[in-house]
């Protein structure tokens, strides 16, 4: 096992541990910290696969914005866990785990049956400069559409989360 494989196994373990923590820990802030660990693990994997730009954007968007958004949601809802959420294997929960295991086994089975390709030693061109150039030329229209989508989604989020009482006071 060479150094790259060792690093990949370690980072995979970090990502899987983070994902398992985020999906099983019942304490909300701890589950969220586990999610941040998962985001960092995936970002490190992006760096390892030489997609540096996507790795940086992953850290900025997920750890910097999405995780903070989740913290705000927890604070604003003061979400308390129901008794049902704490470690009990109710039938619906067993069914959910079973369904996810079937989907996971199906995906893993498909992967196992495909012919394996070792990743080339030299990464294809596709880091920051080519991505920026493509966004301004061939992918300009999708880029603009996704900007409009993001703006609309953020305005919509503010409108949805707006307090009804405040609306009435303004009117």
């Amino acid at each position: 096992m060479d150094l790259a494989q060792l690093g990949f196994v370690l980072l995979s373990a970090v990502a899987i541990a983070g994902a398992l923590g985020a999906t099983t820990i019942d304490d909300l802030p701890r589950a969220l910290l586990s999610l941040v660990l998962f985001f960092f693990g995936v970002a490190a994997l992006f760096f390892m696969l030489h997609a540096e730009f996507i790795g940086v954007v992953q850290v900025l968007v997920y750890v910097g914005a999405v995780a903070v958004l989740f913290v705000f949601a927890i604070v604003l809802t003061r979400a308390r866990l129901q008794a049902t959420d704490i470690g009990r294997l109710v039938p619906s929960r067993v069914l959910g785990i079973f369904g996810a295991a079937v989907v996971g086994a199906g995906l893993a089975g498909v992967v196992a049956r495909t012919t394996d390709v070792p990743l080339p030693a030299v990464a294809p061109a596709g880091t920051t400069a080519p991505i920026g150039e493509a966004l301004m030329t061939r992918y300009l229209l999708p880029f603009e559409i996704v900007s409009v989508l993001l703006t609309a989604a953020l305005i919509g989020a503010v409108v949805i989360a707006l307090d009804d009482g405040a609306e009435r006071r303004d009117a």
Binding site: A22, Q82, Y139, D164
Partner: protein
């Protein structure tokens, strides 16, 4: 060297973990957390296929657009959670059973 299948297998495991979380969690915020995990697993595949030379620049670009859409999705999702909490005083998805109530 790392092989493509190793990355794809990791992505399948992460997706299954996220799906299990989305199906078993009772707290709406934690359901959204699980959906984010599934989106990240899918993104990992785009980067892996690009790295293997099977996708040209489309790989990282699609991953980039997915990141933006995941950000928009979590913003709207959490706004909905806050609005639902204000109405039902609960974020437990098992308690939210009425429409237009």
């Amino acid at each position: 060297m790392i092989s493509l299948n190793a990355v794809l297998m990791l992505s399948a495991v992460l997706f299954a973990v996220g799906l299990a979380g989305a199906l078993t969690r009772k707290n709406a915020i934690l359901v959204l957390v699980s959906i984010e995990i599934m989106m990240n697993a899918a993104n990992l595949n785009f980067i892996a296929f690009w790295r293997a030379g099977l996708l040209e620049l489309t790989g990282p670009l699609f991953a980039l657009f997915t990141l933006v859409i995941a950000g928009a999705e979590s913003a709207v999702g959490l706004a909905l959670v806050i609005a639902i909490y204000r109405h039902f005083k609960s974020v437990d998805v098992a308690n939210i059973q009425t429409l237009s109530g």
